[in-house]
Structure formats: structure tokens, C-alpha cells
């Protein structure tokens, strides 16, 4: 039981899924890009209800606010377009049919200050909760319920064991682990590892010693 999920969260209206959830999509994109604090540019593709009601719900302003690092309860969300201009972040919105996905879905393609690109797809599933569905074309599922490692690695045997050993040596339990291969048969794989404890930057560095790992990102619980 958590009464603060019931009488809460404190948020900017009007809709937890179309506004608060949208801010979180922006927040998470910013965090995952890891290339300067605020992206240099973003292209956002809005699907379903997100496309249809974005303006009235402020979904567009909310995503931009999230990309600028504002939280769902920040009343500067309404002024995010103007703030993006000041911060030198270019953005565009396009209505798109993203296929058989949740009605509240957006795809965000972000470019960092040093040219890194990241292509993410999110759904906002109610109550401000979001799910990350896709990273750079690989289908994943990150719900933000646990401290999580997102590992991008070469799709070769043995990587799961190597990473698993480092986690075990740290005395951490894996609550849930999923491994995703690119359906397009590229060499990319993604592991999403939910853990029972928070970890520090030193731990993440240790994981990087596994040669097949291309990139590793640590995310704390979202809520």
C-alpha cells in the first residue's frame, strides 16, 4: 500500500498519461542519450491518442519539458517550447502510425551535443507510468520498477554469464532479466537486468570490462 500513489503524484495537468507520462518519456530520453545534458535536436513521432490530442493535453510541451530535464510537477512545463529555443534544442513533431502499439505511444529520435543518436519508443500506460518499448530498433521492455541495467552488447554467446558474474560478485540479486536480439538480425543485442539494489558508477565501470559490451546504462527506479 502506498497512499502517496493515491493522493498523488503532484503533477502538472491535465492528464497523468498524456502529460505526466509524456514528461517522463522526455526525462528518460535525456538520461539514456548520455551526450551532453540537453539534446541538440529531437524528432518526435506521435501515434494514436498522442497524435490526436497532443495539443489540448500539452503532450508536446510535456515531452519537450522532459527533454530539458523538468520534472512532471514543474509548472514551467507550459513554457517548454520557448525554453527549448533558449537552450538551443531543435525539435519537430510529426503524426505517425507506429503500428500495433498502445494508443499513447511516441517515438523520440534524439541527437546529442556530440552527434550521438538514439531512437526510442515509449508508451504511456496510465497513472503517469511509462514503458520503454524499443531502443535503436531493438524491442525491449523497461518499466522502471527496479534499479535497472540496460546493456547493449554484441550478439555472441557468453555475455549473459559474464555480466551475471559481475552482478553476483557484488552481492546483488537479479529480480528479472530479459535478453533481446535485434529481429533484423544485426549484431546488436540488449539485456535489461532488474536488480534488487541500487548500484554506483564504479559498478557500471566494472561491467564495461566485458569486451562484448558496447554501451551500458544504469537507471534507477522511475517512481
Amino acid at each position: 500500500m502506498n497512499i502517496f500513489d493515491i493522493i498523488g503524484p503532484v503533477m502538472i495537468g491535465p492528464s497523468s498519461s498524456h502529460t505526466a507520462g509524456a514528461v517522463r518519456m522526455g526525462n528518460l530520453t535525456r538520461e539514456l542519450l548520455q551526450d551532453g545534458s540537453t539534446p541538440a535536436g529531437v524528432s518526435i513521432f506521435m501515434h494514436g491518442s498522442f497524435a490526436r490530442t497532443a495539443k489540448g493535453h500539452g503532450t508536446d510541451r510535456a515531452i519537450i519539458a522532459g527533454l530539458l530535464g523538468l520534472r512532471p510537477d514543474d509548472d514551467r512545463i507550459t513554457g517548454s517550447f520557448e525554453a527549448a529555443e533558449k537552450a538551443g534544442m531543435k525539435f519537430s513533431f510529426t503524426e505517425a502510425d507506429l503500428g500495433k502499439v498502445h494508443p499513447n505511444t511516441a517515438q523520440i529520435i534524439a541527437t546529442g551535443r556530440h552527434g550521438k543518436k538514439l531512437n526510442l519508443q515509449f508508451s504511456s500506460v496510465g497513472g503517469g507510468k511509462i514503458i520503454l518499448n524499443e531502443i535503436d530498433g531493438v524491442k525491449v521492455r523497461y518499466e522502471g520498477r527496479y534499479p535497472t541495467l540496460i546493456v547493449f552488447n554484441e550478439d555472441v554467446p557468453g555475455v549473459v554469464v559474464s555480466v551475471g558474474r559481475i552482478i553476483a560478485d557484488e552481492g546483488i540479486n537479479i529480480v528479472e532479466m530479459r535478453v533481446y536480439n535485434d529481429e533484423n538480425k544485426s549484431n546488436n543485442a540488449v539485456m535489461i537486468i532488474n536488480m534488487n539494489k541500487r548500484v554506483d558508477a564504479g559498478f557500471v565501470e566494472k561491467c564495461k570490462s566485458v569486451p562484448e559490451i558496447k554501451k551500458i546504462i544504469y537507471l534507477d527506479k522511475l517512481y
Binding site: 497512499i3 503524484p9 495537468g13 497523468s16 495539443k55 489540448g56 509548472d75
Partner: protein, 288 residues
């Protein structure tokens, strides 16, 4: 707590309020003190009151043009002395609309339990507090009761309009407000449970049919109705009126009705008022 019955029984057996039980459970859950829980809730109540104050003054229309300025109309009506009785019900209505309008205008609110139903609990409790010059501490405890009861609904049914229709959002908020108000005015835990049921039974079947898919019409007015519904249910319970169906069975009935409700009436904006000719016409305009 798995049920309202358990919650009320625990409070009665120790001769305390429902909020005293809930605050203890929450402190345990968060590994913090009851004072921490109280302080956190107190901050949430501050956000609620700011929204009431802001909404009552605001005459802003929303981006869609579908709503805005109605709390201000009620405020002038109350000030003119035309509100019936002592004006309590008009003030509850005004305050609930005020918070919902702040929400529709992208202002800061407390989802209680959702953004779509965020006006009911603040609208009702703030008007009671003012009317009866209640101690702030008691109002915050009542809010904790509302939270505990809402947690039981979330556990056993749903608070989401997309799953249960408006009965799950505004219906739950009204019933939570009724129980909270009942505690605030000295009702017993059993009376709080009856206030909950007496409120919720009038929301069963309430559909979620937002015009254009926006949290504006009829949402804002349903917040007003929910808050006044809480007043009636609370007064019935305080007078000794009982609901023959216990609250946990009322929650189960709400869940069942939500499951049976057609998808077009669950936040999809495909049926009900959302599909009315005027709704479609208004939305065509607001999309331009």
C-alpha cells in the same frame, strides 16, 4: 489492508480513527515515522489549496476552448449572496471546479486519485475546513483516510477511467471524500465505511466519455457533482443512515460494472457525450 472492513475493524478495536491506522501502516511501509507521513501529506494538501485559490480567481479558457472560467462565475454568484442555504454546497462546487480547471489549464495539482478526478477531494475538504474552521491537522488526517481507502480500491478494483469508466475515477474520489469528511466531523470508522458506500452507489455505471478526449467536459462538472455527492453521503452516514451492502461489496460491484462497460465508454472518446454531434463539431473547431 485488503478491505475497508478490516480497516474499520482495526480502528474500532483500538478506539482510534481510520487515519491513525493508515498512518501507522504507511510509516511501516516507508520505514519512516508517522510524523514524516503526516508532513508529506501536509505538503500535498498545500498544493491542493494553492490550486483551489488559483482556480477560483482564474478566468482563463483552455487551449481547446472547451472549458475555463466557471469557478470564477460561481465565486461571483456566491459573493452576490444568491447561493442557497448557507452556501456550503455552492462553495464545495466552486472549489472542486477550481481545481479541475487548474488541471485542464496545465497547472499544478495532486492526482487524487487521478488527474481527471483531482477536484473532488480538495474541493470538498477545503470547503469543509473553511466552513467549520476545522483544525488543519484534522483535515490532513482525513486526507490520509482518503488515501488508505483509495489504496483498498486500487487493490481490489481500479482507479483508472480506461479500465473502469468515470465511476472508478470520480466515483472513487467522491466515496473517498465522503469517508474522509465523515471522519473529519467525528463519525465512527463504521460510519465512514457507510459514507463511502452511500456515495459510491450513486456513481456505479458512470461512464468516461470526455469530449475530444480532453480532461475538460464533462470531467470538470463531474468533479463538482462528485464533491456534492460526498456531502450528501457524509451527512447521511453521520445521521446514522446505513448502506445494507458493505463497502467492499460495493467496490466489487464497481469493478464488475467497469468490466461490463463498453470500451467506447472508457476514456476512448468514442461514445456517450464524446460522440454527441455538438462534441464532434466543437472538436473539429478546436483542432483547427
Amino acid at each position: 489492508m485488503k478491505s475497508i472492513k478490516e480497516l474499520a475493524a482495526a480502528a474500532e478495536s483500538r478506539n482510534v480513527r481510520i487515519s491513525d491506522i493508515v498512518i501507522e501502516l504507511q510509516a511501516e511501509e516507508n520505514s519512516c515515522t508517522a510524523i514524516d507521513v503526516f508532513e508529506k501529506m501536509s505538503k500535498r494538501y498545500d498544493v491542493m489549496l494553492e490550486a483551489v485559490e488559483r482556480g477560483v480567481k482564474s478566468e482563463l479558457k483552455t487551449v481547446t476552448g472547451l472549458s475555463g472560467g466557471d469557478a470564477a462565475l460561481l465565486d461571483r454568484y456566491i459573493a452576490s449572496g444568491r447561493a442557497l442555504g448557507n452556501g456550503l454546497s455552492a462553495r464545495i462546487t466552486r472549489n472542486a471546479i477550481a481545481v479541475s480547471e487548474v488541471n485542464a489549464n496545465m497547472g499544478r495539482i495532486v492526482a487524487s486519485p487521478t488527474a481527471g478526478s483531482c477536484g473532488i477531494i480538495p474541493g470538498f475538504l477545503s470547503a469543509l475546513e473553511e466552513e467549520l474552521s476545522l483544525r488543519r491537522e484534522k483535515v490532513i488526517m482525513a486526507l490520509i483516510t482518503a488515501g488508505g481507502i483509495g489504496a483498498v480500491i486500487a487493490e481490489n478494483a481500479t482507479l483508472a477511467g480506461a479500465e473502469g469508466g468515470c465511476q472508478a475515477e470520480c466515483g472513487s474520489a467522491a466515496a473517498m471524500a465522503a469517508a474522509a469528511g465523515c471522519e473529519l466531523l467525528g463519525g465512527t470508522p463504521q460510519q465512514c465505511a457507510h459514507a463511502f458506500s452511500l456515495s459510491m452507489i450513486n456513481s456505479l455505471g458512470l461512464v468516461c466519455d470526455p469530449v475530444g478526449g480532453y480532461v475538460e467536459y464533462p470531467c470538470i462538472f463531474r468533479n463538482a457533482h462528485g464533491a456534492v455527492n460526498a456531502l450528501a453521503a457524509m451527512e447521511m452516514a453521520l445521521s446514522g443512515v446505513k448502506s445494507i451492502i458493505p463497502s467492499d461489496e460495493v467496490i466489487a460491484a464497481m469493478k464488475e460494472v467497469g468490466v461490463k462497460m463498453d470500451t467506447s465508454l472508457k476514456e476512448t472518446a468514442l461514445g456517450g457525450l464524446a460522440a454527441a454531434p455538438s462534441a464532434l463539431r466543437l472538436c473539429r473547431h478546436s483542432a483547427d
